[in-house]
Symmetry: C2
């Protein structure tokens, strides 16, 4: 076990998804209703995933379990999903009909990351809730087998820097551009997501990529997903996602 706490010791591990109002709103999103196919980044993320056949998989911040289910359906021999939210896991349990999938009610920071236990570690849009990426990278590296793969998506540093995660508008409410500020001031941001305040941690691109490299990972892919053509005019606001990078997808290998 590491002696240094993953959360830096003085940060809050916020469990926003167990808030009834927030959970209700989240459950209405297309990624919640339709699963992977409803997530704008899925077609890009899928191309970064390894062959799951016979693999032991860990999913950090598994939420509804969509990625755990996908791994099981694609041959994973065991899948462990962690999430801090009981409400999310309750839904995951209901959706999941594979005995090889287990869910643990636990923060990403509190898992013990046993040495060389997993072949694949996934994390979808969860690590921007964790204070220290370097610590995550170190622990993930430890729990992967040699050659093992770490695939994750996070909110893009451009998206998290300013804090509000909203466009900058003119007086008539038209989008002018997306604002960037405080880029090199890493740490807590109070964003508004689904009309509710959510605590996130801004990190620079340097922190993500050098964090992986200094830990010993080889970087296989770094991709900013573009909105899929078929969603541009059918999902509200999707066309505007051509104007800013909202997510960063990374595949790294031990």
């Amino acid at each position: 076990m590491e002696s240094r706490p993953l959360d830096g010791g003085d940060w809050m591990k916020e469990n926003r998804y167990d808030d009834q109002v927030f959970f209700q709103k989240y459950s209405q999103m297309s990624r919640s209703q339709q699963g992977l196919e409803g997530a704008g980044e899925w077609q890009t993320l899928r191309r970064l995933l390894p062959d799951f056949n016979g693999k032991r998989v860990l999913d950090l911040g598994c939420g509804y379990g969509w990625h755990c289910i996908y791994a099981a359906e694609h041959g994973a021999s065991s899948v462990t999903g962690l999430d801090i939210s009981e409400k999310m896991l309750a839904v995951a349990h209901k959706k999941t009909h594979y005995p090889q999938v287990q869910y643990l009610h636990m923060a990403v920071e509190d898992f013990d990351y046993p040495a060389e236990r997993y072949d694949v570690v996934l994390s979808s849009l969860a690590l921007h809730y964790v204070a220290s990426f370097e610590e995550v990278a170190r622990r993930v590296y430890r729990c992967l087998t040699p050659g093992g793969v770490f695939v994750f998506s996070v909110e893009h540093p451009v998206f998290t820097a300013y804090g509000s995660q909203d466009w900058y508008y003119d007086g008539q409410g038209n989008i002018l551009h997306f604002p960037v500020d405080h880029y090199f001031l890493e740490g807590q941001r109070e964003a508004v997501f689904l009309g509710e305040k959510v605590l996130k941690y801004h990190k620079t691109l340097t922190t993500y990529l050098e964090g992986l490299l200094s830990t010993g990972f080889v970087i296989n892919h770094v991709v900013e997903p573009q909105p899929p053509a078929e969603m541009l005019d059918t999902v509200a606001g999707m066309r505007d996602e051509l104007r800013r990078p909202m997510m960063l997808l990374v595949r790294a290998q031990k």
Copy 2:
């Protein structure tokens, strides 16, 4: 030789530095007057450079030749610097007193990149003037020896996306934030630099990093330099550089 032109066939290779007014203004910048020590990113870039001892070095867009001179002073056996600007090269010739350094008056796009000829390829703040990064990556890869290193700095995709490369101000002229727009629309931007219009090419982070990876490079480092502490209050505007990422430094290996 590649059949596909490096500049995409229909782009302009602009030679702004041979414009008398622009050249005069550029020559007043602290990076022009003081050389490497006057460049905010130098302390970060230097840490990414390999040992030059006995190495054959190519510098794409060498300008005044500061990096060529540095390589020669640190033991490079030969250094070739390319630049499209005669005025820049005239200054480089005057500054350079090492017979192992040669300068070629040539655009980055027009060099022939002989196979496995160089151990190190450098490029400082030049490749955002070139239309296709993938083509650069392919040609650099070809001309490097196995294990050879490619170190470059470019303007950060956050900095090039909007186009004007200027802050967004309130009515009183105070900086509000830095604007990002058209991020996934790569291509020409007409920026204002030193009060003059300059043609540049915006590329996404994905294009830079996946361009290297798909060519076969291993990524060693990806760093967004922060302004050095000693320049924060002595160089005009430097403190604001904590608010946005202006440059991207990359080290990759064949």
